[in-house]
Amino acid sequence: MVATAPPVGSSTEDSTRARPRGRWAGPIYSIAPTLVLLALFLGPMVILLYYSFQKASLAGAGGWTFDNYTSILTDPTYGKVMLTTVVICTISMLIMLAIGLPLAYILAMRTPPRFELLFLLMLVIAEELNPLIRIYAWRMILGRGGVINWTLQTIGLIDKPIDSLLFSSTAVVIVLSTTYISFTTIPIYAALKAVDSDLLEAADDLGASFLTRCRKILLPLAAPGIFVAIILVYIPLYSEFAAPALVGGTSGYMVGNAIQEAILESGNRGVGSAMSFMLLVLSGAVAWIGYRMARIRRLQATS
């Protein structure tokens, strides 16, 4: 009666070859990846941090200063870009949750087992499409002579094509919301998959309508998955620059574009680095909060 999926991931068996054992095995194995991570991850970060406290000069370093940070915090242009970024990212995330939650529910609880894997694969394959191609596809749809304008004109709803469909913050939101759907859906799907369907029947039996069951049972039990989805999707959204550059126009200009422009076009490494670093700290904070909440929820939900 209760359909249960096998747990995701399984451990592989040890081979019989000689290998380090005991309490030093862990550290020995992790030396190489740790070094790679330090070199490739921490290294650039240190360089970034260094530049963000340096005066701008052609050599890249012109003495220590806080100017980069103060100019970002005081210049209203940067404030506006930051605000645009927060609004675009938050709305995109909310749209993805609005699509991902029902989708995860349908996949986990309402799909016949024999179609479940197929649907999951379809979701993942859709994600595999090259992001640039996806963005250009949206330009074809949203553009002046695009599918939407053409359709609206043909059925006579509008006389002239709507220009604001493309090159606007709306276009960025549309492109971004459709880009990370599977990263939003799959963690929530995994969380819901672990929910015993008896719980929903029990809630129904005790007098809860469908909406109450969603609010009181499904949502709290899906919460760890929702937080994971936010960590996986919401934070990377902040560093997005390809989509706003290609469909954003001036109203869809995001922090990622400002950083790119500062470093690659204005040659202002100091301000670019400072912005990157501030974004990094912000992301870290969001990730930490998300992680804590996911952990608390998971602890409560373990029975």
Partner: protein
């Protein structure tokens, strides 16, 4: 044949079980089909107020499907279900006045015990004070005062079971539905909970419909039992009725242990029937099914605890057959014997220690029982074999 016995049962039942107190739940020729498969094949019965009613049968007999239709998780293909006189056949679970205790307990893991129990009352738009009162009352009914702040993961199996019960009771339903609620508990706890459930049922005074495959549980707790097999109710009656006067060979085999002795009905009189069983031995039985007529095929059913063994044929007019003792197992207060009768006949005997005769494996002996403990049911030898194997398969 199913419907026939069912009505025999239903008549006796309405006379005893639900007189005076009224009907809480009523099924009217309910059928449930899943595609081609008929899970429930036209069952009708009433459950009285304050009655402890059990649906007993092997897995796949339709008892759980019946319970799920009562709860509203399944919709009957045909027939109607009335809760408190109201047609509830098509009502959603949250729209009907029944509550269910799940086999898996289905406690909400992200809520405390108190929040779990409060879930139902909160849906009823009661005041906060009333909700708290109900939580307190329900938890004290299952003797779990002081556990309100715990999370389900911090409960033992028995405690979780009680919380599940308290949560369903807090809604004060007309009928409480229980789906093998003791199945996951160990034997000792299960026996304790049987009496506990009975006590709670008496105290809260609502009807219980209890699904189980454990005949011991059903006999211990129930006011009436519906024995189900193949989607129909084969027998509906009090525990004594289904035990002493089973309506069919299946019921005889499923409730308790039974030996079947197929044979021919030689005579039927006011003092019982005479059946000649395998090897020409005559067995007189004081009790018989009303369908028994002279010359028909019949099966004498006899419980192991009524069989006594003696080295020679007993001089009394007791019924009996000569047997070879196959096996003897000492079980403390009783001794269990496996016996080989004439032909293919197999019998079991359960003899109290103080009545144990001087017979041992390999020895020829005589198995006998008083005529009032043999019960004659219609059926042929192959019917008896079929019933025995059906019971065995379900055990």
């Amino acid at each position: 044949m199913g419907t026939e016995t069912e009505h025999v049962g239903a008549d006796t039942a309405s006379a005893e079980g639900i007189a005076g107190d009224g009907v809480a739940l009523s099924l009217d020729h309910v059928v449930k089909r899943f595609g081609e498969v008929v899970a429930v094949d036209g069952i009708s019965f009433d459950v009285g107020r304050r009655e402890f009613f059990s649906l007993l049968g092997p897995s796949g007999c339709g008892k759980t499907t019946t319970l799920r239709m009562l709860a509203g998780f399944e919709t009957p293909t045909e027939g109607r279900i009335f809760v408190d006189g109201r047609d509830a056949s098509r009502l959603a679970p949250h729209e009907r006045d029944t509550n269910m205790v799940f086999q898996s307990y289905a406690l909400f893991p992200h809520m405390t015990v108190a929040q779990n129990v409060a879930f139902g009352p909160q849906r009823k738009k009661l005041t906060r004070r009333e909700v708290e009162q109900r939580v307190q009352d329900s938890l004290s009914a299952v003797r779990l005062e002081g556990y309100g702040k715990r999370y389900p993961r911090a409960l033992s199996g028995g405690q979780a079971q009680r919380v599940a019960l308290a949560r369903a009771l807090a809604n004060q339903p007309s009928v409480l539905l229980l789906d093998e609620p003791l199945g996951a508990l160990d034997l000792k706890l299960r026996e304790e909970m049987q009496f506990e459930l009975k006590r709670i049922q008496r105290e809260v005074g609502i009807s219980f419909v209890y699904v189980t495959h454990d005949q011991g549980e059903a006999l211990t707790m129930s006011d009436r039992i519906a024995v189900m097999n193949g989607g129909v109710v084969e027998h509906l009656g009090t525990p004594e009725e289904v035990y002493l006067r089973p309506a069919s060979l299946f019921v005889a085999g499923f409730i308790g242990q039974t030996s079947f002795l197929p044979g021919h009905v030689e005579s039927v009189g006011s003092d019982g029937a005479e059946v000649s069983v395998e090897g020409g031995h005559r067995s007189r039985s004081a009790r018989l099914d009303p369908r028994i007529t002279v010359g028909s095929q019949a099966v004498v059913v006899v419980r192991p605890e009524h069989v006594r063994l003696s080295p020679t044929e007993p001089p009394t007019d007791a019924a009996g057959v000569p047997v070879t003792v196959l096996d003897e197992v000492f079980q403390g207060s009783v001794v269990r014997y496996q016996l080989q009768g004439p032909g293919d006949l197999r019998l079991a005997a359960l003899v109290p220690l103080d009545e144990r005769a001087d017979v041992h494996p390999g020895v020829q002996a005589w198995a006998s029982w008083l005529p009032e403990w043999g019960y004659v049911l219609p059926g042929t030898e192959s019917d008896a074999e079929a019933a025995a194997s059906e019971v065995e398969a379900s055990a």
